[in-house]
Amino acid sequence: MAETLVPQPASDGSAERLARIRAGLSARHSRERRFRFYGIAAIAAALGFVAILFTMILYKGLPAFTQATLEVEVFFDPEVISVDPMPVQQQGQSQAEFRRAMTDWQRQATMVNWNRIVEAAVRNAAPGTEADSRQLLSIVETNARFELRDRFVADPGILGSTARVKMLASANADNWLKGNINRDLPDAQQQLAAPARELADRLYENGHIRFAFASHIFTNVDSRSAPASAGLAGAFVGSLYMMLVVIVLAVPIGVMSAVYLEEFAPKNRLTDLIEVNINNLAAVPSIVFGLLGAAVFINYFRLPLSAPLVGGLVLTLMTLPTVIIATRSALRAVPPSLRQAALGLGASKTQTVFHHVLPVTYPGILTATIIGVAQALGETAPLLLIGMNAFVAQIPGTPLDQSSALPVQIYLWQGNENRNFFEARTSAAIIVLLGLMLTLNAIAIFLRSRLERRK
């Protein structure tokens, strides 16, 4: 051990010591450079993957936000629309009677062959088309007739006049015009008959069909019969309800459990056991929570199937461990000096926790909550088990109504048989979901910086 370096006066042996330090220096520096390079490479790879993912989704999904839309002059032909005049409440007529008369009248309006009106309007826009009436209607979304009916019911005075009406082109026409389908394929493999394809092209050329912003994606609910007009509104509202349930339940329950476990509970076998189990719960696959939810909330408590309330409860179970664990570590990070300061002043345990310790952890709890909620919002598997993959054709009015959810909607559209139309739709739904998540995160960052500034 003669070579061991012992601190020496600088005069003797200092040159040798310096030489030794220098000999090691270049190796140390290159190790540092190497490490920094690995770090940058790792970040670049991660960012690269994210960039690829986002580009793919945007590239695929953005076209779905514009859709082929027909704009034609519609003549509300009194010969086709042969309906009695709209009933007016007579004197002496009871409310119930009037309502019955009104319903009868609306039924009459529904019985009208609106497709003939649609056909006439389209034919008028493309004179001399060879398409027969079925082929012609195949390029118009099937719900166009209901729109005309609604227009008439809302304003019966329109009878006999002409109005400019926008209606969606069918999904197949949209595919054809967007080039989602190979134009060289033989007739047998095309979705539209040849005359219909020719008609679509004609209407596009003469400006009757245009690509317009597809706002109905946000306002309509899912639709099987009229896929082009299918929207996300139902799933979106369902997801919002679930988010609400998760926030209202998971945050107070999670934070209170964490506070109790961390600040008040005696440290013994039982609390150790609880702690281990909470940590394990965080690692339980989400589908298991779905099974649990189906068994407990639906079979035992008889809550309705497909309801956002049940979905929210299941997702709450999933989110609780995240919130508890994050809150506990945030509490643990609070310096003991803060607790001592409050206790030393004569604050009780509860006052110490709620006046001083907990407020310091708000930013941490907030971040954890948002991450937990975002995770829950993106969860699909457990929702499938409680029936949220059912086809629901209305926007849920309450958390107890049947509903779908955004990720489930993505899953359903991904499985739709009209692949070349719904591929873009799926990506569009993903964009909406990601947008919602980014909004949540932005809110979290905003609130966090506000909370931190207040200190």
């Binding site: 004569g346 604050a347 006046h355």
Partner: protein, 281 residues
């Protein structure tokens, strides 16, 4: 600089900070505020304090000195039961505040801590405004009937902590934004805002520079007119400057205790002598 020791010197201005010499022992018969008898403290199985008995007089400064790890903080924390917050810490013996056993089951620890305040080694203001820092104690104990009274308490406490002139225009700014010395004075203001009878200070100046230290010492000197003060310090000079009585701890034992002047000039024990002359510790 050595003062004659036969005269009682009750007035504080004779204890001027500038004097670094040992001062007159304060032999005026002061009522005892806190008595400890045979106090032993265990951390788990390890005993940190052995049968400490001491009387702490009213309206005077008592200093605890001794080498690191000898149990000064441990004993100080017994006096307001802050040891309760340490897990598996056990206190044996009897400590009385005005004749009442503070470890009595009937005694509310919240009330005790309102009567025995504490200032810690590291300044630890709440991450709230200066005003809120001082107002917190009076508020939780319900000492102010209305906002005006609370304002008055806050102002008076900041005055007593000689911080008012420095912060009066920034009461709503965070207490954590003050300098270290100001923070410590804020902590003192916070402690005296609840008008405790006893104030415990655990090395209140160890994180401060000499000027801030001098200010705090000056403050302690003034506070002793109204409060009973117990201070832990590593600085022999500080003990000599601010205290009337000194207790020397070593390895968990109270070696000796008496008027500061006597401890510093003619200690009864060799260990005390060795410590204050810097031979160990």
């Amino acid at each position: 600089m050595h003062m004659p020791s036969e005269k009682i010197v009750p007035s504080s201005d004779l204890y001027a900070i500038s004097s670094s010499t040992v001062r007159t022992p304060d032999e005026s018969p002061r009522p005892v505020r806190v008595t400890a008898r045979d106090v032993s403290v265990f951390y788990g199985a390890k005993q940190a304090l052995f049968d400490v008995s001491i009387d702490i007089p009213e309206k005077a400064v008592t200093a605890f000195i001794g080498p690191s790890g000898c149990g000064k903080s441990t004993f100080l924390r017994c006096l307001n039961r802050m040891n309760d917050t340490i897990e598996d810490c056990r206190v044996n013996g009897r400590i009385e505040l005005d004749g009442q056993n503070i470890y009595d089951a009937a005694l509310d620890v919240v009330e005790l801590r309102a009567r025995v305040g504490m200032v810690f080694q590291k300044p630890n203001p709440f991450p709230k405004s200066i005003y809120e820092n001082v107002a917190y104690g009076p508020r939780i104990h319900g000492l102010a009937k209305n906002k005006a009274e609370l304002d008055a308490i806050v102002e008076a406490s900041l005055h007593k902590a000689s911080l008012w002139s420095e912060v009066k225009d920034r009461l709503n700014e965070p207490g954590t934004g003050l300098s270290g010395g100001q923070q410590q004075r804020l902590c003192i203001a916070r402690a005296i805002a609840v008008s405790p009878e006893v104030i415990l200070m655990d090395e209140p100046c160890s994180a401060l520079d000499p000027i801030a230290t001098a200010k705090i010492e000056e403050l302690i000197d003034e506070l002793k007119q109204n409060f009973t003060i117990v201070i832990v310090t590593h600085s022999m000079q500080q003990a000599a400057r601010v205290s009337q009585r000194t207790a020397f701890f070593h390895l968990g034992n109270l070696v000796e205790e008496g008027p500061t002047d006597m401890i510093f000039t003619s200690p009864g024990e060799k260990r005390t002598q060795d410590y204050i002359t810097g031979r160990f510790g």
